[in-house]
C-alpha cells in the first residue's frame, strides 16, 4: 500500500504505522476545577473501546513515523485498500465539549 503524505508525497506503507478508526473524539468530561462528569466512565468507555468493524470506506489515523512524524487521517477502503484521501489530522480527535451536551445542542 502507498500513502500520499501531504508533506512528503507518496510513500511506501513501511514508513507509516496504523492506529485505527479516526472517528472517535476524545470526550471533554473534566471540568476546569478538575471535577469529573458523572457519566465520564461510560463516555470514555465508548471512546477507548467501541469501534465499528467497517467493511468498506472508513477514516483512519496513520502516523508517518518514518517521515515527517505527521498524524494523518486516511480515507481508505478496508476491503480493496483503495485510498480516497489523505489529510493532516490536526484536531481530528478533539472535542470541545461533553459529547452529550454537544448532542443536545444539536
Amino acid at each position: 500500500m502507498r500513502i500520499s503524505c501531504p508533506y512528503c508525497g507518496e510513500r511506501e506503507l513501511g514508513e507509516f504505522s496504523y492506529l485505527g478508526d479516526a472517528s472517535p473524539k476524545r470526550p471533554a468530561v473534566i471540568a476546569a476545577d478538575g471535577g469529573v462528569a458523572p457519566d465520564a466512565e461510560d463516555v470514555f468507555y465508548d471512546y477507548v473501546y467501541l469501534r465499528d468493524n467497517v467493511a468498506g470506506e472508513m477514516s483512519e489515523h496513520w502516523y508517518h513515523g518514518g517521515g515527517c512524524r505527521s498524524w494523518l487521517v486516511v480515507r481508505r477502503n478496508t476491503v480493496s485498500h483503495e485510498i480516497k484521501s489523505v489529510e493532516i489530522a490536526a484536531g481530528a480527535g478533539a472535542r470541545t465539549g461533553h459529547p452529550n451536551q454537544e448532542r443536545a445542542n444539536g
Binding site: E41, Y63, S80, A89, G91, A94
Partner: protein, 1014 residues
C-alpha cells in the same frame, strides 16, 4: 507455417563442429545436428547423479538432459513413482533436482528453469539408494492405503503411537530435496524501482505492449522470467509482418534496447502484486553461474512501483488425465516443441501425440522436421481442418483416447489407444506428447481476490476483475492467436502510456495471421491404472472422486483434503483438471465449481531473497551508545535492549562470574563513585508557550508549576488507565522542558505525544523534537561524586548541596570550556548527577572520567549494577511497568492529580483498576538468606496448594543485593501493601522449587532517601 527457429535433422553432432565440441557432444544422443538457440561453439560439462554429461550454452539443465537421452529425473512425493521431464517451463512439477553442492546446495530446483553452466552438478531427489532403484517405491504397492486424507484415516489409532512412531516416520518420508544445513555463502539484495508501465512477459503480446508504450515515451519496465526474450516465439516461431517471427523478435528487442526509458529485466519473475501498484519481482542475477562474481548478489528482490501494468504472462499447457500419464517420456506437447525447436533436443525418436485441441497438432510438424517419427496422432474430436494440414502427410491419425502407457524407469515403450468404435490398439513409441488445452496465467490478476471467469469456447479460465491499473493481454487473457497477441499488446501498451501522459506515436502494431484456436474438453480418460492430476503430490483422478464421495466437494476442501495444487508448482498444471473432474462428478458446471483463491508468489522465491541483506549481525540495526567503543576496549559485556547495545557489566582481571563483577560495581558506587552510560533513555525536547499545559495533560502529575532549573519524576498513562511510561522531566526555561522516557518506550512515547499534540490539542503552542541521539549522558553516582565532578567541571561551578540541590538542573562549563548540562537526579539512591554533553563528546567524556576519577577509584558500571541498585531502592522499571499495572499498583497513586484532565484519568478510576485486591508492588526477602529468588516465580500463601485459586502474584525483578548480602526481589502481590511482614511461599516448579520469603516494603536500602540528598 514457416518455422523460423529450426530446421535440422536428428543425428549425432559430427566432426563438422570443432574437435572439442565433437567429443564433448558424444553423450548427446538426442541432440539435433543443427538449429536451435544454443551456442554449439560453447560446450559445457555437467553431471547428473554423478554421471558426466555435456550440453551447450543456451541449454537449460532439462534440455541438456533431454539431449543426453535422460528419461528418468526424479521420484514423486508420495508413491515414489519414476518421473521424467514434463514441461519446459516454470510449471515443472517432476524434474526437481538438488543443484550445486556443499553450502550452496539448492533443493527442489526446477531443471527446466536452471540455465546450464560449465561444471553444474545436479542430483535427483526423494529416492534411496538410487534413482533407478528406489526402496520407497514400495509405497506405490501400498497405494490403496495412501489415498486422499490417509493421514486422518490411517494413523488415528492407537493415539499414543502418533508422537513416537507415526509422526517421525512420516516426517522422514516426507519432503523432496534436502537443504544444505549450512549458512548460504552468497548474498541477496533488495531494490526498489518505479515506472509508468510494467510489462510482465516478453512473448509477442508483451513485446508488442512494451514497444508501443516505449515508443509513446512512457517509462517502461519489461520483466521476463526467461534468460531470453520472446516467450513462445522462441519455440513456435511463426510468421510476423510476412517474415519469420525471429526477424521481428530480433528487431523488437533491438528497438526496445535502444529506447532510453525502457528497461529490460531478464531472468526476472514477477511473483506478486500488492496494493498501490506495487509488484514483487525476483531477479536471478547469478543463478546461471556456479558462484556469483565478487560483490554481486545471487538474487535480487525487486519492489516495482508501476502506474500501469500489462500482464502478458502467457499460458500453461494442460496435461490430459489418463492412465499412465505420469510415465517418464510422457511430455507436454508444447514442451516437446520447445525442446526440439529452441534447444535442438529431441525428447523421443518415435513420438505419439495425444491432443484434444489444434495446438497439439503443431507438435507433429516440429517432430517431423527434426527427423523424428510421429507414430500416431490421437485426437478424440471430430476431424478438424488442422488434421489435413498438419497431420495429413502419412500420419497414423486415430480418433480416440490413450488408455494406458507402457514403460517404467527407462521411459515410455508404447501407448494403448482406444479408437472410437474400433477397439484398442497398442502402438510402440518412446515419447508421448500430450495437450489438454491451455490455461491462461491468471495468477497476477487474481491476487486481489479477483475471480477468474470460465470460457467454454477455449475451455479455460480467463481473468476476472483485475487489480486497479492492470490489464492482461495475449494468451494470459485467453487470446491464443499470434495476430491477436500482437494487436492486443500494442493497444494495451498505447493506452497504458497515454494514461501516464505519454502520447508520442506508438507506431503501428505488427501483424500475423493464424488460425482460431479450437478445442473440445477432455477431462478424464477412465481406465485401469492411476491417472494423475497433480503430478508432484501424486493426486490422481480417483483421489478427486474419493474426495467427492466423502463430501469434500468445495474446491477449497478438495485442495486441502487431497493436497491438489499444493505442490511447488501451486497447481499450475493440476488445478483446472482437478476441479473439472470434481464438476463432472457433482454434475455442476466448471463455472459453478470455481477455483481456489490464488495467492502469491506466482513462482517459488527463496527465503534468502526475502531476507536479503538482513541476516546475521545485519538482521536488525545496532544502535551503539557514545561510549560503546570505549566500553568494548575495556572488555564490557553487552546486552541488547531493543536495538541498543548497552554495557551490562565490565569484568576485570580475575573475575570469573558475572555476579562477582556486578557486586564489585555496586559496592564501588555505594562506597565511592561510578558512572554509567544512560544515553539510551529517550529524550524529547518540549518547547512552546503551552509546553507546561501540554505536559500536565500527558502526565498524571503537574509540570506547569515546576520551577525553572528543576527536574521532577513523571508518570504517564495510556488512555485506558494503565501505566505507559515514566521518567524525569526538567524545566530549562519558561517555555522549554526536556522530557525523558525509558529506553524501550522512546519511540512509542514520541508517537503518543505527537498524537496528543497534533490530533487532540492542535490549539496548544508546543513543539516536540526527539533529541535522544543528540545527547551523550552519563550517570555519575556515589558518595565521591562531587570529588569526581570537581575534577572535570570548571572550578567556578558551585556543586554544593546548597548551590546545586537535589533535583536541580543547569548548564555548566567543563574544564576546558565545553558546555554541559548537569541534572542532580538519582536512580541508585546515592548522591548522583547526570551529565549531558553533545553525543560526539561522549567517548571523550568517558575517557576523561576514568582519568579524572582515578584518585577516587572511579568504576564504570553497567546496566546490571544499575538494576541491582534500583531494586535495592525499590524503583520500578520495565518489569513492573509491564502493561498491566496502574499508578496505584506501583505505589504512585498519590501522584494522580485530581485538579485537571490528563490522558488516562477517567479510565484509571474504573472499579477493576481501583479494586482493593489488586496486585501491587512489594519487596521480597527469602527467609533463608542463602536462598535465591527467581523472576517469574509465583506467590501463594505460605503452605498453600499451588493453583489458580491460590495464586496471588509473581516475582517481577530479582537481584543479589550486596548491601543486604542476600537475594531480594520486587513482586506484584494481591493486597501487598497490607501484608508487609507476612511469610509467603515462592512457588517455582520449573526451576529451583519452592522457598519461603517475607513480604517487605519495596525500598530495601536507605528508605528515608538520606544518601541521595546528602
Amino acid at each position: 507455417m514457416a518455422d523460423a527457429v529450426h530446421s535440422g535433422r536428428l543425428e549425432r553432432v559430427d566432426a563438422s563442429a570443432s574437435g572439442a565440441s565433437a567429443s564433448a557432444a558424444a553423450s548427446q544422443t538426442h541432440r539435433i545436428s543443427s538449429g536451435g538457440l544454443i551456442d554449439r561453439t560453447k560446450p559445457l560439462s555437467f553431471t547428473f547423479d554423478g554421471k558426466a554429461m555435456t550440453g551447450f550454452a543456451g541449454d537449460t539443465l532439462a534440455s541438456a538432459l533431454v539431449a543426453n537421452g535422460v528419461k528418468l529425473v526424479g521420484r514423486s512425493f508420495k508413491y515414489h513413482r519414476p518421473r521424467g521431464i514434463l514441461t519446459a517451463g516454470a510449471e515443472e512439477p517432476n524434474a526437481l533436482v538438488e543443484l550445486r553442492g556443499g553450502a550452496r546446495r539448492e533443493p527442489n530446483t526446477r531443471a527446466t528453469m536452471a540455465e546450464l553452466y560449465d561444471g553444474l552438478e545436479a542430483v535427483s531427489q526423494n529416492r534411496w539408494p538410487s534413482l533407478r532403484h528406489d526402496f520407497m517405491a514400495v509405497n506405490s504397492l501400498a497405494s490403496p492405503i495412501f489415498v486422499a486424507g490417509f493421514y486422518y484415516k490411517t494413523f488415528m489409532w492407537p493415539a499414543k503411537l502418533w508422537e513416537k512412531l507415526y509422526e517421525p516416520a512420516i516426517r522422514r518420508a516426507a519432503g523432496l530435496g534436502k537443504a544444505s544445513g549450512a549458512p548460504d555463502p552468497d548474498h541477496y539484495e533488495r531494490a526498489w524501482t518505479h515506472c509508468d508501465v510494467l510489462v510482465v512477459g516478453s512473448g509477442p503480446a508483451g513485446l508488442s505492449a512494451a514497444l508501443a508504450a516505449g515508443r509513446a515515451g512512457a517509462r517502461v519496465i519489461l520483466c521476463e522470467e526467461d534468460s531470453a526474450l520472446g516467450g513462445r516465439l522462441l519455440a513456435d516461431g511463426g510468421e510476423i509482418d510476412g517474415a519469420p517471427a525471429s526477424d521481428w523478435l530480433a528487431r523488437a528487442v533491438a528497438e526496445l534496447e535502444s529506447l532510453p526509458d525502457v528497461r529490460i529485466m531478464r531472468r526476472t519473475v514477477t511473483f506478486g502484486v500488492y496494493d498501490g501498484g506495487t509488484f514483487g519481482a525476483l531477479e536471478r542475477v547469478n543463478d546461471n553461474v556456479p558462484v556469483p562474481p565478487e560483490h554481486q548478489p545471487r538474487q535480487r528482490l525487486w519492489r516495482i512501483i508501476a502506474k500501469r501494468a500489462i500482464v502478458a504472462a502467457g499460458a500453461h499447457e494442460r496435461p490430459l488425465v489418463f492412465p499412465g500419464n505420469d510415465r517418464p517420456g510422457v511430455m507436454m506437447a508444447s514442451a516437446v516443441r520447445t525442446y526440439v525447436n529452441r534447444f535442438a533436443a529431441l525428447p523421443g525418436r518415435r513420438v505419439a501425440v495425444f491432443t484434444n485441441n489444434d495446438d497439439g497438432w503443431r507438435t507433429v510438424e516440429a517432430i517431423r522436421r527434426a527427423g523424428g517419427e510421429v507414430v500416431a496422432v490421437i485426437d478424440p474430436r471430430e476431424p478438424t481442418a488442422i488434421r489435413g494440414r498438419a497431420g495429413g502427410a502419412g500420419a497414423n491419425v486415430l480418433r480416440g483416447v490413450v488408455t494406458g502407457v507402457k514403460g517404467g524407469v527407462d521411459g515410455v515403450s508404447g501407448v494403448q489407444v482406444s479408437v472410437a468404435g474400433d477397439g484398442t490398439r497398442e502402438i510402440a513409441a518412446d515419447c508421448l506428447a500430450m495437450s489438454g488445452g491451455w490455461n491462461p496465467s491468471v495468477g497476477l490478476s487474481s491476487y486481489h481476490r479477483g475471480r477468474p471467469v470460465w470460457r467454454d469456447d477455449i475451455a479455460a479460465f480467463v481473468p476476472g476483475q483485475c487489480p486497479p491499473g492492470m490489464v492482461l493481454v495475449g494468451s494470459a487473457n485467453g487470446d491464443f492467436s499470434l495476430g491477436i497477441c500482437l494487436e492486443a499488446g500494442h493497444e494495451a501498451g498505447t493506452r497504458a502510456a497515454a494514461d501516464c501522459g505519454a502520447s508520442a506515436s506508438a507506431g503501428r502494431a505488427a501483424t500475423a495471421t493464424d488460425e482460431k484456436f479450437s478445442i473440445h474438453p477432455l477431462w478424464h480418460v477412465k481406465g485401469k491404472g492411476k491417472s494423475f492430476v497433480d503430478f508432484q503430490h501424486d493426486v490422481s483422478a480417483s483421489d478427486v472422486l474419493l474426495a467427492q464421495r466423502e463430501g469434500f466437494e468445495s474446491v477449497e476442501h478438495l485442495k486441502r483434503y487431497t493436497t491438489l495444487g499444493m505442490a511447488t508448482d501451486q497447481g499450475k498444471l493440476s488445478n483446472v483438471n482437478g476441479l473439472a473432474i470434481m464438476a463432472e462428478a457433482t454434475g455442476r458446471s466448471i463455472s459453478d465449481t470455481g477455483t481456489t483463491i490464488y495467492r502469491p508468489p506466482a513462482s517459488p522465491v527463496a527465503i534468502g531473497a526475502f531476507a536479503g541483506p538482513n541476516r546475521d549481525e545485519h538482521f536488525h540495526a545496532a544502535r551503539l551508545t557514545p561510549s560503546h567503543h570505549w566500553a568494548a576496549e575495556r572488555g564490557a559485556v553487552f546486552v541488547d535492549t531493543g536495538l541498543w547495545k548497552r554495557a551490562q557489566w565490565y569484568p576485570i582481571a580475575g573475575e570469573t562470574d558475572w555476579l562477582q563483577s556486578v557486586t564489585r560495581e555496586v559496592l564501588a558506587v555505594r562506597n565511592g563513585v561510578g558512572f554509567c552510560d544512560v544515553s539510551t533513555l529517550g529524550k524529547i525536547d518540549v518547547q512552546g508557550k503551552d509546553a507546561g499545559t501540554f505536559l500536565d495533560r500527558v502526565y498524571i502529575n503537574t509540570f506547569s508549576n515546576l520551577g525553572i532549573g528543576k527536574a521532577r519524576y513523571g508518570l504517564m498513562l495510556r488512555e485506558d488507565g494503565i501505566v505507559m511510561d515514566d521518567g524525569t522531566t526538567s524545566r530549562l526555561a519558561e517555555d522549554h522542558y526536556l522530557l525523558t522516557t525509558t529506553t524501550a518506550k522512546a519511540g512509542p512515547v514520541m508517537q503518543h505525544l505527537e498524537f496528543c499534540r497534533q490530533v487532540l490539542w492542535p490549539e496548544l503552542d508546543v513543539q516536540l523534537t526527539s533529541v535522544t541521539d543528540q545527547w551523550s549522558q552519563f550517570s555519575i553516582a556515589g558518595p565521591k561524586t562531587r570529588d569526581l565532578l570537581k575534577a572535570i567541571v570548571d572550578p567556578s561551578e558551585d556543586l554544593s548541596n546548597e548551590g546545586f540541590p537535589f533535583m536541580g538542573v543547569r548548564d555548566v562549563t567543563l574544564r576546558g570550556g565545553m558546555r554541559a548540562r548537569l541534572y542532580r537526579i538519582s536512580f541508585s539512591g546515592e548522591i548522583a548527577f547526570e551529565i549531558g554533553v553533545p553525543a560526539r563528546y561522549g567517548d571523550a567524556l568517558a575517557r576523561n572520567l576514568m582519568v579524572a576519577g582515578e584518585p577516587f577509584g572511579v568504576t564504570p558500571y553497567g546496566t546490571e549494577a544499575l538494576g541491582v541498585m534500583r531494586i535495592e531502592k525499590g524503583h520500578v522499571a520495565g518489569p513492573e511497568l509491564n502493561g498491566t499495572t496502574t499508578a496505584a499498583d506501583l505505589g504512585l497513586g498519590k501522584m494522580m492529580s485530581k485538579k485537571k484532565d490528563y490522558i488516562g484519568r477517567v479510565m484509571a478510576g474504573r472499579e477493576a483498576l481501583t479494586a482493593l485486591n489488586r496486585q501491587v508492588v512489594v519487596g521480597l526477602k527469602p527467609v533463608d538468606t542463602a536462598a535465591r529468588l527467581r523472576g517469574g516465580a509465583h506467590i501463594i500463601p505460605k503452605g498453600a496448594v499451588p493453583g489458580p485459586t491460590t495464586d496471588q502474584g509473581y516475582v517481577t525483578s530479582v537481584c543479589y543485593s550486596p548491601m543486604l548480602k542476600q537475594w531480594i526481589g520486587l513482586a506484584l502481590v494481591e493486597r501487598g501493601r497490607e501484608r508487609h511482614g507476612e511469610i509467603v511461599t515462592i512457588h517455582d516448579p520449573l526451576r529451583a522449587g519452592d522457598i519461603l520469603a517475607e513480604i517487605t516494603s519495596p525500598v530495601f536500602y536507605d528508605p528515608e532517601g538520606v544518601r541521595q540528598r546528602g
